[in-house]
Amino acid sequence: MQCDEVRPRLDAYIDGELAETERAEVHDHLEDCPECGPETVALQRLREGIRRSAPTYRAPEALRSQIRLALRREDAATTRTARPAPGWLAYAASLLLAVAVGSGGTLLITGERQEDVVANELIDSHLRSLLGSHLTDVASSDQHTVKPWFAGRSDVSPPAVDLAAEGFPLVGGRLDLIVGKPVPALVYRRREHVINVFVLPASRGDLGATVTRRGYTLRHWNEGDLGFWAVTDAAPSELADFERVFREATKG
């Protein structure tokens, strides 16, 4: 083999991609050739340099668990849409009524308590906010930015207070569509956790102070004519603290 035949094969040679006979021929040539030999050494040096200096990227642990969660959600979503219609329709109807009528009705259409239905829907919404890039529509810790943003976008006007001093910084606000109804959500952080506070008209029923569903913690309380539904992946005790400081700060 001559140099002009060897050169185009050098990459494949150092990559171990040549057939045995070709490899042997190139090898023989490299033993003797004063130019191709050093060229090969230079290629190998480049390879070593790349392996030495290029960072090894590994998927963050958080990504791994986020993906597992997303897969589970994906399955849950397909189960729900695959379910025959009557149950789902009744569910949607009861939820829509719950949101629209608020404290008004007794809505035991499906046999599920209306609050349970709402709770499930809000946990889904919380999950959506964590998975996508849509955590906030208006990103601000300033209540004079967040509160007016909701005006005209929703029926209720949520009290947006920054609680950074108490360890719960306000991140912003978001409008979620829940069965076609816009529901405002206030977004707070607790260290690496997110707390979504959904603000609906007050409901007469009570979910009980704290419930844990599907690994998420939910608290519900009424204040005046508003009902607050806080959802988080932080510990239940932290959510209890949150409710306390939030109520104190919004008492007026």
Binding site: D15, L43, L46, I50, R58, P60, E74
Partner: protein, 184 residues
């Protein structure tokens, strides 16, 4: 029960595909050049793969998932940074001989603004046009063979070879300091 089948499918996906999460992330990280974007793209790709998992037949799961990750990266780049996905020009020239690829293509000048960085191979790799960058990453860092690289990138093996050659030549020229001036 449908949910049992669903659960079985999911745990099969987790045991077949998720072991390649690090490789998927590394490829996305090199293509997007950013941690947060890489995480977004990988998550999107994994969900997409999960939806099409029924089309996966026994075989090389790593190539299968990397192909999906790569495609997701490119469509993400097209949406968010179209300047990053300019196609390679004069791909043909490669078959005839050595083509000169300027190390900085597209909008990568910013990455090269610091001259002292030009000796750093990781910076040089980041500055390569995406089609050259990915073959270097797949070959040198993921240590994949030409056939697998061809499968992942959807081009013939001959093109993989010529792109590798082109990428290495460009890296060597800049790294060995032969044409730092031209590289700018």
């Amino acid at each position: 029960m449908a949910w049992i089948a669903q659960r079985r499918r999911r745990s099969r996906f987790e045991s077949v595909v998720l072991p390649h999460l690090d490789a998927a992330y590394a490829l996305a990280r090199w293509l997007t050049r950013n941690d947060a974007d890489a995480a977004d793209v990988v998550q999107e790709a994994m969900l997409r793969a999960f939806r099409y998992f029924d089309t996966y037949r026994e075989g090389d799961a790593k190539s299968w998932i990397l192909r999906i990750v790569r495609r997701t990266c490119y469509s993400w780049l097209e949406r968010n940074r179209p300047a990053d996905v300019v196609p390679l020009d004069d791909e043909k020239v490669l078959d005839e001989g050595i083509a000169d690829t300027p190390i900085a293509a597209g909008n990568t000048e910013a990455i090269l603004q610091n001259r002292s960085d030009l000796r750093r191979l990781d910076v040089l790799i980041e500055a390569l046009p995406a089609p050259l960058r990915e073959v270097i990453v797949l070959r040198e860092l993921q240590e994949l063979g030409y056939r697998e690289i061809a499968e992942i990138t959807g081009v013939p093996i001959g093109t993989v070879m010529s792109r590798l050659h082109r990428a290495r030549s460009a890296l060597r020229r800049a790294w060995e300091g032969k044409d730092i001036g031209d590289a700018m």
